[in-house]
Symmetry: none
């Protein structure tokens, strides 16, 4: 029953999107799939093609996209009652998704068959086996999700086992035990998974392929996934950051390091485990949900030490107050926040720009002071390293003045035909470059785009390399949002020159002003690195 | 080993305050203690008197305060090495707290004795027994917290057991096994708790009093608490909402309903279990942290149903998709509208507006169609129920036209002294009200604030109730943000009239336009409900 390899089946793109308030564009889905593939998950469940226009489009997009190692999976229920699978129109877009693998979910719980599907127990068995057999005949590989498995088994074990057997005999390759309502306790998961393992062996499967899919309604999704693995499952289904309906799915960012660092299983290549914190934060950015600082393993506070006793002990021997090393999952230890620790943070941060500072250096204390002031008013430099580097260079007297934005004006205006017509945005910018003032105007899709174009127009004759810079991301966060439109706005802008990316931040109580600050610093940083690279 | 009563030991006021960003006033602590007492927890750990001025004052305050049934507990470490407990000044404020119960924590892990305390293994045993014996001689009852119990036991089981025996022989009444670093797995907790149970029996304790204190660094705090209870613990320590250092402590709002509703134990009086959701939210109010909507049992989304299949089934039989009844812990079922919505979602959602629809009704399909179309271009109605209600009323021909926004112009402009000066924002709006056009202008802190003021100015003489509406939240989300400032913007705005709140959404490739749409619908919805309430 021991198996050192556990396959990770990610369902962030399907079950994860059931979370209230989480909605993904097709582009978001492609980015997440790409990131998961690079981390090395085995399966990526992309959605239910045909259930909504977006999922269908996603699978079309993915046909042109080459995942390096993950298998893309399309998800669907068993066919409807009373018709043949080959005649069920629901399966047409499923096959059109052109994935090698299809996950079919079916009912294990007699109550759901009768009250949910309103059909007979026999017909449900036929729906399972007919659907799987048909898809096999279309040359697909099938994973079978036994929905409500544990509740079903507890209510009517014989019938539940019959549903699995129907899937087995029809040719399903994986048998995924779902705790759909999330209410099962770990000892029940353990016991019932063992029963399935033994049944599959009895039916002739030499090494049963069991998956475990858990929900967190009782706060036990991770514990239940682990109990499943300890009793025969070799696939774990879950989502990044535990996104999912109600209280969420098993959080893969917690399950993977538990299995891999503590229990000796291999879920992803050991060299890739240190990507986990980054993946967690990137996905939370893409879905635009604030990351949970207190998340196990990957949270910003997961290795934060507060009290004096802890801090001195952890510095002598990290093992004393840390259950795993933060580096193993790409996280960091944080000491909160004595000024000494602050100074060492500044020093180690500045080193990454190739600048060597010592604690005694007055610039060091000045940078710390300025950082704290700016963070107090809403800046955050973790996602705006270019702005931080400019701040550091200013403190060191090493920030060349490429230009200054003297003033700007932005107009947004509708036509009389506003309801169906567009909105016209114009910006004028006055910029000082090499002691001369330049006033330019431009139009754009929105006010920030107009400002961006006007700014480039003013600068391009002086700095032609600006033509290569473009905006790759623009994010807005309202701070202390309780005060509505009076609140502080933080804008983060990401730029690229085709070779590398950099990010800047702007904060203001005016969103246009915040955007202008971030735009200005982004262009400045791009020029600074162009100069540096020319020198080298 | 079976015991149907589990005592709840709350440490929100002590271990909970170790959470980064959580800080309580004395008044806050009194309010939380009072609320926990009314819900019926057995023990309330109030703090470490003497460690900071606040905790000392809290215990003084509590001497005048009569808790109805909970025992207030003061927390402290074993005495320092090398002196007698009676001479250790640290214990003076502990006794001055005048509680019947004192919790003393001591070291179980040899590594911590040597590297943390820098003393000998023998002296640590003496520190445990001398401290407990001294407090017993002062007529106190003592609970002993075995810090780092599981790590200590795994590293050196013999020594760990000796520390417990020292506490036992000195007269401690409870033996609390702490997973201080939060890294222990449930099967280890189970096995090691059983060892302690057997040891205590062997030392002559007829019914061993074991507590379990777990942390969530591996996402297993709740599972570990349950494993402890299943193997002999009859006290669970934890915090409300799982507040605590790093990844938090065992969340009592999850542990209690698991033990009580699923496993047949009694933690608090059954009649009081339905206070749990209220307690969770009140404590989050007092500590000023946003409640976790996705928290098991007590979260606002814990019983929220999104997918169409789920909704129709849960309406026929709640058991199909709910592991416990929401009412049992004082929570509610909620139906959520989203792109996965089916007709039944629409129907049950619309019912909450007092509108009765049937599946056959063409308006029903029309609403579903419109919702899906709008979600495709970036709308999201889960957090914008007022916009959804307007959409429904439009489909039903029941959306009165209060006004139309014909056009707007927004200006943002800096002074020449931009770098230090502010940004001036002005808006002009042209509105059609009762067949007349009205043009107004206003200034504001930012462009959206200016637009809001101008809009109200145009409308207030027709609809004076607008004076009571105000913005309480403003959120911006950039969709498909890869395309930078060209991307689609979704704005969510929350309004209030002092009595209730409502939210609207606006989507556009121009942030000002998106804001204008959401503002307009927000005012419209406010007027609509004012009319309805006048009618009733």
């Amino acid at each position: 029953m021991e198996n050192q390899n556990i396959l990770i089946y990610d369902t962030t793109l399907r079950d994860g999107t059931q979370r209230e308030g989480l909605s993904l564009s097709v582009e978001d889905k492609v980015r997440i799939a790409d990131r998961l593939d690079r981390m090395g998950v085995a399966f990526i469940e992309g959605g239910w093609a045909g259930a909504n226009p977006k999922d269908g489009e996603f699978f079309r997009r993915m046909q042109e996209y080459r995942l390096s190692s993950a298998e893309l999976v399309v998800f669907c229920s068993t066919r409807r009652a009373g018709i043949k699978a080959k005649d069920d129109p629901m399966l047409v877009p499923i096959l059109a998704a052109e994935t090698k693998w299809i996950t079919i979910f079916g009912k294990s719980w007699d109550l759901h068959v009768i009250e949910g599907l309103r059909t007979t127990l026999e017909e449900n068995l036929a729906m399972i086996s007919d659907t799987i057999a048909y898809l096999k005949s279309c040359d697909r590989r099938v994973s079978y999700d036994a929905e409500h498995w544990f509740d079903g088994y507890k209510n009517n074990p014989d019938y539940a086992i019959q549903t699995l057997k129907a899937a087995f005999e029809a040719g399903a390759e994986w048998f995924v035990l779902c705790d759909t309502n999330g209410g099962t306790m770990p000892d029940e998961v353990a016991k019932i998974t063992k029963v399935v393992y033994d049944s599959l062996r009895q039916w002739g499967s030499e090494s049963p392929q069991i998956g475990i899919h858990t929900h967190n309604d009782a706060g036990l999704a991770v514990a239940n996934a682990i109990a499943g693995v300890q009793h025969g499952a070799t696939m774990v289904q879950g989502t990044i950051n535990g996104y999912g309906e109600r209280c969420g799915n098993a959080n893969l960012c917690t399950v993977i390091p538990n299995l891999q660092l503590k229990m000796g299983y291999e879920c992803i290549a050991p060299a890739k485990l240190s990507q986990l914190t980054e993946v967690s934060r990137q996905v939370s950015e893409i879905v635009n949900l604030a990351p949970d600082d207190h998340a196990p393993f990957v949270g910003a506070s997961a290795f934060a030490h507060k009290g004096g006793i802890h801090v001195s002990a952890v510095q002598r021997n990290p093992l004393t107050y840390e259950h795993v090393t933060p580096e193993s999952i790409g996280n960091n230890r944080r000491i909160v926040i004595s000024e000494q620790a602050g100074l060492s943070n500044v020093i180690s941060k500045v080193e990454t720009f190739g600048i060597c500072l010592r604690k005694e250096d007055p610039a060091c204390r000045q940078i710390l002071q300025k950082t704290k002031e700016l963070e107090q008013i809403g800046y955050q430099f973790e996602s705006a390293e270019a702005s931080f580097e400019l701040l550091v260079r200013e403190a060191l007297g090493d920030r060349p003045e490429f230009f200054t934005i003297s003033s700007f004006h932005v107009y947004c205006t509708t036509d009389a035909t506003h309801i169906d017509g567009g909105v016209n945005s114009q910006a004028t910018v006055k910029v000082m470059v090499k002691d001369e003032e330049h006033l330019t105007a431009a139009e754009g899709n929105g006010p920030v785009a107009a400002l961006d174009v006007a700014l480039r127009k003013a600068l391009i004759s002086f700095y032609p390399e600006i033509a290569n810079f473009y905006l790759t991301d623009y994010k807005v966060r309202i701070l202390n949002s309780d005060s509505g439109t009076q609140a502080t706005t933080r804008v983060l802008i990401e730029f690229s020159n085709g070779k590398r990316r950099w990010s800047t931040a702007g904060v203001s109580n005016n969103i246009i002003d915040a955007s202008c600050k971030a735009l200005g610093e982004g262009i400045e940083y791009g020029l600074l690195s162009a100069v540096r690279h020319t020198k080298v």
